[in-house]
């Protein structure tokens, strides 16, 4: 193994024994993906420049993401059946009871894992996207997450699943595109539907919506049992709930510490990796490591809070970034390079008060627990809730400005973007910037353009902070 490979695996905390054991599988997966030494050099630079690998927890997370991606690539050879579930990330919890009770079945929240791993860790997302674009044209409507998956399947990197589960939680387009993929590959597919017409005058929880999704989930599990010819006992669902709660609590504690403290103790680039990592289901081998990784990161962040440390110095403008990039830590890292502290994302804060923990006290079973967690995320819950949460966060956590990120190939963020901008400007009276990007597609990252926007916003916020201090 040459120097580049050694450096790469060292960065990911692999011991030489682990490498020796895993190398045949890794080499096979690398060949399927077409990984070259150049790719690894790019990844080393990308990770070291944009993620805080001085944090043991972050290194542990990256290692598990690497191993999970290798498992995904090898799944076709190593498992009897495969099931993929699409966005949102809580699909990870959905898949866990299947894997826990049926080790012969591989399952993954596929577009979340590919989003967070293929570009930063393997430098292969663009290649998958370009391949996927043979079937789904680039640009708006067709989600880059789906294009990546389609491309990877077409390249033979990901195996054709025996079943796909598609959420219509965020968007009506997801199930349609998934259906197109099902037709192309003749894959049975089941949809978890949701109303797309949210009330504009009430806050969450919307019991009707949560109950509907919970019922859809029950229906979906029955369909899974039928198609995969398995049984998923009720106890497995409750066990999953307990199993996911631990890491979720650690993640929410990290997000909460970022909201509560100045300096913000962790970069948004690192938080996004942890956010998606938390939502994934892990192979049996990695389950304990996942718990340990998030706990370690939580403790490290706690230590930083105690010492008053953070990637950006105390007192710098604090912002909320609604939907940071899933796939491109370099663009997320730009905020701190421009002197901005990102205290969180509205994908990881909840109504009514904008804290990082959803109120799940009334959730009696697995279905309502997952349904409510998903439906309480502002992006799932409509404009009224987004407004409620942004207002609460801005006031409670001293947010100086908000960045709204409509994603080119995602209709969810685009549709309410201007409404939210007007709301922040007129009602919250704090600076707001719309920053178009694509949360999956790193090709939309143009450093010059994005940097100019973020730097200008930082300059605007500095002036805003000074004038606010004078006012007070």
């Amino acid at each position: 193994m040459n120097k580049t490979y050694q450096e790469y695996f060292k960065m990911l905390e692999f011991t030489s024994e682990e490498i020796e054991k895993e190398l045949p599988r890794i080499e096979k997966a690398f060949t399927k993906l077409g990984i070259t030494e150049d790719d690894l050099q790019i990844c080393i630079k990308r990770i070291k420049n944009s993620l805080d690998v001085s944090l043991v927890g972050m290194r542990k997370i990256l290692k598990i993401l690497f191993k999970e991606t290798i498992d995904l690539i090898m799944a076709g050879e190593e498992y009897e059946k495969i099931v993929y579930i699409t966005l949102p990330g809580w699909g990870g919890a959905f898949i866990a009871p299947i894997r826990n009770t049926h080790p012969e079945i591989y399952g993954q929240c596929i577009d979340m894992l590919t989003a967070v791993a293929l570009h930063p860790l393997f430098n292969k997302q663009v290649q998958c996207l370009e391949t996927g674009e043979k079937y789904l044209p680039a640009g708006n409507i067709h989600c880059a997450g789906f294009r990546t998956l389609l491309g990877a399947m077409d390249m033979g990197v990901f195996a054709k699943p025996n079943m796909m589960i598609s959420w219509g939680i965020y968007c009506d387009e997801g199930p349609k595109v998934t259906e197109l993929m099902a037709e192309k590959y003749d894959i049975p597919i089941v949809f978890i539907d949701q109303y797309q017409d949210f009330p504009t005058d009430v806050g969450v929880p919307f019991p009707r919506y949560v109950n509907f999704v919970a019922e859809e989930m029950k229906k979906t599990f029955k369909e899974i049992e039928k198609v995969l010819e398995i049984e998923i006992p009720e106890a497995a669902l409750m066990n999953t709930m307990t199993e996911t709660m631990g890491p979720h609590r650690d993640f929410t504690a990290i997000q909460q510490m970022m909201l509560d403290n100045d300096p913000v103790p962790l970069s948004i680039a690192d938080l996004m990796i942890a956010f998606i990592f938390n939502s994934l289901t892990c192979s049996p081998d990695n389950k304990k490591s996942k718990v340990d990784a998030l706990k370690t990161l939580r403790n490290e962040v706690k230590q930083r809070v105690k010492k008053g440390e953070g990637p950006v110095e105390k007192g710098r403008p604090r912002i909320l970034d609604t939907v940071p990039s899933f796939s491109d830590p370099e663009s997320n890292h730009l905020f701190q390079e421009c002197g901005l502290q990102v205290a969180g994302t509205d994908m990881a804060i909840y109504p009514p008060d904008g804290s990082a923990t959803p109120d799940l006290t009334d959730c009696k079973d697995f279905h309502s627990y997952v349904a409510k967690t998903v439906m309480a995320i502002p992006a799932s819950a409509g404009v009224a809730v987004r407004k409620q949460v942004l207002a609460a966060v801005a006031n409670k956590y001293k947010i100086d400005g908000i960045i709204l990120d409509p994603s080119y190939s995602c209709r969810v963020g685009f549709s309410d973007c201007q409404i939210m901008r007007n709301f922040v400007e007129k009602e919250l009276k704090i600076p707001v910037m719309i920053m178009e990007h694509d949360c999956y597609d790193p090709r939309f990252f143009t450093p010059g353009q994005i940097r100019t926007r973020i730097e200008t916003f930082a300059e605007q916020l500095k002036v805003y902070k000074v004038s606010k201090q004078i006012e007070n």
Binding site: M433, Q449, T452, R453, T456, E459, Q460
Partner: protein, 252 residues
């Protein structure tokens, strides 16, 4: 105390020397390939016009896309903040700035003393920028001056539908094949840029008076198209191309 602002844009490099709130000298050069070299040359030229040397300068601020490649600058600011500041210096009544530069266009809403309240920039597309106009003038085999002036003679601007520079170029070639008067084609091109700016402006809600800055503000045909599209007159500083560099010097 003399201060300098150096604005390295995608098309041209500008430098302004100020002292006691007065412009002592300025210079404009094509950017070319060597950013560091042009930054040095444009500064030296402006210093020469001001009758000063670099050692006389208190501080230098760099702006524009090439701001990170000006090693002798003491600090850097974005061109958006600098255009806001510079426009407000030239025309203090300015509430909104429309800056059409070489590779991007911006609409900037101003607060007190030329601070930025809100802004919007074009995306990953050259439509609505100076580069778009350059490509079109080349397609029509006209110099930029001829291109700008001919537009004013148009009585019936053509419709250019495309929002993509490359597709718009093919539209222009088709219009030429249809023997449409060249002045109407150019006026149509200017109108299409103006429509892009209008779309951007509505996103942040522009306030009047509006000042147009950047090299494209010298293009009277484009200015007229913008005024026709927006429905009111635009202000233009005496030398619109140096507004960013002036803003940088004022920040220094």
């Amino acid at each position: 105390m003399p201060f300098a602002g150096v604005d390295i844009g995608s098309v041209s490099a500008k430098s302004v020397i100020i002292s006691d709130n007065e412009i002592l000298g300025y210079s404009i050069l094509p950017t070319g390939a060597d950013v560091e070299d042009v930054a040095r040359r444009v500064l030296n030229e402006s210093l020469k016009k001001a009758g000063l040397t670099e050692s006389d300068l208190e501080r230098i601020i760099a702006t524009g896309y090439g701001r990170i490649s000006v090693p002798f600058a003491d600090d850097k600011m974005t061109e958006i903040s600098c255009h806001a500041k510079g426009a407000s210096w030239f025309l203090p009544e300015t509430q909104t700035v429309i800056d059409i530069g070489g590779q991007d266009s911006k609409v900037i809403k101003l607060g007190e003393n030329g601070t930025v309240i809100s802004f919007v920039m074009n995306d990953k597309c050259a439509a609505g920028t100076g580069r778009f106009l350059e490509v079109m003038s080349r397609a029509l085999e006209l110099s930029m001056d001829e291109f700008a002036n001919l537009s004013l003679k148009s009585l019936k601007p053509c419709d250019i539908n495309s929002i993509c520079t490359v597709f718009a170029e093919s539209e222009v070639i088709s219009l030429r094949a249809e023997k449409k008067p060249v002045q109407d084609i150019i006026a149509g091109i200017h109108k299409s840029v103006a429509k892009r700016i209008l779309a951007m402006s509505t996103q942040i809600g522009i306030l009047r008076p509006i000042t147009m800055t950047g090299g494209v503000a010298k293009n009277l045909g484009q200015k007229k198209a913008l005024e026709d599209t927006l429905g009111f007159k635009l202000l233009t500083p005496k030398e619109p191309q140096i507004v960013g560099a002036l803003g940088a010097a004022l920040f220094a």
